[in-house]
C-alpha cells in the first residue's frame, strides 16, 4: 500500500469518526430534552447498548421522545424501545443485503402494523438498488387505514414492478384517503385507484424501470 493510499484511508477514517461523534453528540443533546433524570439515564443506557449491538439509534431516540411527549413512564418507554429494536433487527433481515436507517424504521412500523413480512422482502427484491422508504410507508398507511394486508401488499408490489414511482404511490395513497372521506371503503378505493395509476404506466415498464431512482 503506498503512503498516499495510507493517508487517504487515515483521512477517511478520521472523517467517519468525526461524523459519528457528531451524530452521537446530536443525539445526546436531544436526550437532554428529557427532564426526568432517571428516565433520561435509562433511555441513554438502552440506546448505548443498542448502538453496541449494531442497531441504528436515531429511530430509538425519536421513539423515546415520542414517549416523553405522551407522558409515558420510563418502564413503558423502555418496553417500546425494546420492541422497536427487535422489529428493526427483523427488518434488517428482510431488507438485506443493505438498508438505510429510514428503511429500517419504516419497515419496523410496517411489521408493527401487521404488514406481512414477505411483502417487505418482496419490495426489496423488486428494487434492490434504491431506497424504498416511501413504498413501505405507503403500504403501512394502507393497511393501517383498513385495507386487507395481503391486498395492499399485492397492489403496491404490482405497481412497483410496473415502474410506479414513490410520488405516484403517495398520490395514490392520498386519493384513497379522499375516497374514504367520501364514504368509499378503503379496499374498494385502493382497487379503483390502483387501476388508475396502472393505466398511466407504460406497458413495457419492467422491473428494471422500477429500480430507477
Amino acid at each position: 500500500m503506498s503512503p498516499r493510499t495510507n493517508n487517504l484511508l487515515l483521512g477517511a477514517a478520521l472523517c467517519a469518526a468525526m461524523v459519528s461523534a457528531h451524530g452521537v453528540g446530536a443525539q445526546e443533546a436531544r436526550l437532554l430534552s428529557i427532564r426526568d433524570d432517571a428516565t433520561r439515564n435509562r433511555v441513554r443506557i438502552f440506546v448505548e447498548a443498542a448502538r453496541l449491538r449494531g442497531t441504528p439509534t436515531e429511530p430509538l431516540v425519536s421513539r423515546a421522545l415520542e414517549g416523553i411527549a405522551f407522558k409515558a413512564d420510563a418502564k413503558r418507554i423502555e418496553q417500546a424501545l425494546a420492541a422497536l429494536e427487535k422489529r428493526m433487527r427483523r427488518a434488517k433481515e428482510l431488507l438485506a443485503p443493505h438498508a438505510t436507517v429510514d428503511e429500517l424504521a419504516a419497515a419496523a412500523d410496517a411489521i408493527a402494523n401487521r404488514v406481512p413480512e414477505k411483502a417487505i422482502s418482496d419490495l426489496r427484491r423488486i428494487a434492490p438498488r434504491r431506497t424504498i422508504t416511501v413504498e413501505i410507508g405507503v403500504l403501512t398507511e394502507l393497511v393501517a387505514k383498513g385495507v386487507k394486508p395481503s391486498v395492499a401488499a399485492t397492489m403496491v408490489r404490482d405497481l412497483m414492478a410496473k415502474g410506479a414511482t414513490g410520488a405516484q404511490l403517495t398520490e395514490l395513497n392520498a386519493a384513497v384517503q379522499q375516497d374514504v372521506a367520501l364514504g368509499v371503503t378503503p379496499m374498494e378505493a385502493l382497487v379503483l385507484r390502483t387501476r388508475g395509476v396502472m393505466s398511466l404506466l407504460p406497458p413495457a415498464a419492467s422491473v428494471n424501470a422500477a429500480q430507477r431512482p
Binding site: E66, A69, N113, N173
Partner: protein, 386 residues
C-alpha cells in the same frame, strides 16, 4: 257512508308533520343509528281552530358504503281528538361503492285513528333514482303512489317528480318539480283545493326549494313550495316552513319547526299549519369503531423551498393548538389561527413521519384522515412524504 271534509280534517292533519324520510347517507364502514324524538305541536287547518298535540317518533337506520335502510315510526295524540300513527320503511342501494347512481325505495302505512284501524288509513310507496353529477351536485327523479281509505271512501293518488341538489360549504340547496294526480276530493276540499269540473281526477303542479345551512351544532332549514292546479281545479297555493335543530351534545338536540305544509295526496295528509318543539335523543354506534369520515387534517404541499406538511385543525378560537412529530423531535410547534381553523406549515424532509396534535396542552391526538398507529396508550398519525 259519505263523510264530510270537516270530519277528516284533524285526524289526517296529525300526520302532516311526518315527511317522507330519506334513507341515511351511504357511509364508510357500517353505521347504525337510533333516534327517539318527543315533543309538542300546535296544529291548525283551514276552517278549524288550533289544537295541541303530543308527538312521539322513533328512527332506526343502518348504512354502509353500498346499502342503507331505515325504519321509522311516528305517533300523534291530541286530547280532544283522535290519535294517528305512521310507519315508514326505506332502502337505498348503490351498485358499487364508487357508483354515481343510487336507487331508493320505500313504503309507508298510516292509521288516522286508533279506534278505526283498518278502515281509516293510507298506504303509499315510492321509488327514486339519484345521479351524482359531480362532487357537489346531483339530480333525482322518482315517483310515488298512494291509496287512502276513509270508511267506505277510497281514493288513489300518484306523483312523479324531478329535482336537483347542490352543496357548497355549509349550505345545501334542493330544488324539485312534481306533478301529482289524485281522486281524493275529500282531502282536497279539506285543504281548500276546490274542483271546477266533474272530473274525478285533479292534477297539481308543485315547485319547491329547500335550503339547509349547518354551522357547528346548529342546523337551519327552510322550504318554500308553490302549487298550481292544472286539471280539475284552479287552485294556487304557496307555503313556507322553517326549522332549526341545535345539538347540545352529540346525543341530545332540540328541534323546533313552524310553517304551513300543503296537502300531500299520496300520503293522505291535508293542508295544515304547525308549530312544534321536540327533544331528540340519538343513540349512534359505529360498529367498526372508526370515526365518521372527514377530510384529512394533514396534507403534503410542494413549495419553492421544499416540502411542507400543511396541518389544519378544527378547535375553538381561544384554544392553544400545537403539532408535534418525528420531524420536530416531538417538540410542540404552535399553530396559528387562520379564519375558522388552526393552520401550520412545517417543513419536512422526504420519508415517513409520525405526527400528532393537541389542544390546550391536553392529550395528543392523531390528525383525522391519517393512518393511525397505536403507541404509548395513544395514537399518532402516519404520513409519507415522497
Amino acid at each position: 257512508m259519505h263523510r264530510s271534509a270537516a270530519e277528516i280534517r284533524f285526524s289526517a292533519a296529525l300526520l302532516a308533520s311526518v315527511a317522507v324520510l330519506t334513507p341515511p347517507a351511504l357511509a364508510q364502514g357500517a353505521r347504525h343509528e337510533a333516534r327517539v324524538e318527543a315533543g309538542v305541536a300546535r296544529i291548525s287547518q283551514p276552517g278549524t281552530h288550533s289544537r295541541n298535540a303530543f308527538v312521539l317518533s322513533g328512527f332506526r337506520s343502518h348504512a354502509d358504503s353500498a346499502f342503507a335502510a331505515l325504519l321509522a315510526g311516528n305517533a300523534t295524540w291530541a286530547r280532544d281528538s283522535v290519535a294517528a300513527a305512521q310507519v315508514i320503511g326505506a332502502l337505498a342501494w348503490r351498485p358499487t361503492a364508487m357508483s354515481r347512481w343510487q336507487f331508493e325505495g320505500g313504503a309507508s302505512g298510516a292509521v288516522f285513528s286508533f279506534a278505526k284501524v283498518g278502515s281509516d288509513g293510507n298506504g303509499s310507496g315510492w321509488l327514486r333514482v339519484r345521479r351524482q353529477l359531480g362532487m357537489h351536485v346531483g339530480v333525482i327523479a322518482g315517483g310515488a303512489v298512494g291509496h287512502t281509505l276513509r270508511g267506505s271512501e277510497q281514493a288513489h293518488s300518484n306523483t312523479v317528480d324531478v329535482g336537483a341538489w347542490v352543496t357548497g360549504g355549509a349550505l345545501t340547496l334542493d330544488f324539485s318539480a312534481s306533478r301529482a294526480r289524485t281522486e281524493d276530493s275529500l282531502l282536497m276540499a279539506a285543504s281548500r283545493i276546490f274542483t271546477r269540473s266533474r272530473s274525478a281526477w285533479l292534477d297539481l303542479h308543485d315547485v319547491a326549494a329547500t335550503a339547509t345551512w349547518t354551522h357547528g351544532q346548529l342546523e337551519l332549514a327552510a322550504t318554500q313550495r308553490w302549487r298550481r292546479g292544472v286539471r280539475g281545479t284552479d287552485a294556487v297555493q304557496s307555503a313556507t316552513t322553517g326549522g332549526a335543530t341545535y345539538a347540545f351534545t352529540p346525543r341530545v338536540a332540540v328541534v323546533i319547526s313552524a310553517g304551513r305544509q300543503l296537502a300531500d295526496p299520496v300520503r293522505g295528509a291535508p293542508d295544515a299549519t304547525t308549530a312544534s318543539a321536540a327533544v331528540r335523543f340519538t343513540f349512534a354506534e359505529l360498529r367498526d369503531g372508526t370515526p365518521p369520515p372527514r377530510e384529512s387534517d394533514v396534507s403534503v404541499a410542494r413549495m419553492t423551498d421544499g416540502t411542507v406538511l400543511v396541518v389544519r385543525i378544527r378547535a375553538p378560537a381561544r384554544a392553544r393548538v400545537e403539532v408535534a412529530g418525528s420531524f420536530s423531535g416531538w417538540d410542540p410547534v404552535p399553530i396559528t389561527r387562520k379564519g375558522e381553523i388552526w393552520e401550520a406549515q412545517v417543513h419536512v424532509p422526504p420519508g415517513r413521519h409520525r405526527v400528532a396534535y393537541r389542544v390546550d396542552g391536553g392529550p395528543w391526538h392523531a390528525p383525522t384522515g391519517l393512518a393511525r398507529l397505536r403507541e404509548f396508550d395513544g395514537e399518532v398519525g402516519l404520513i409519507v412524504v415522497p
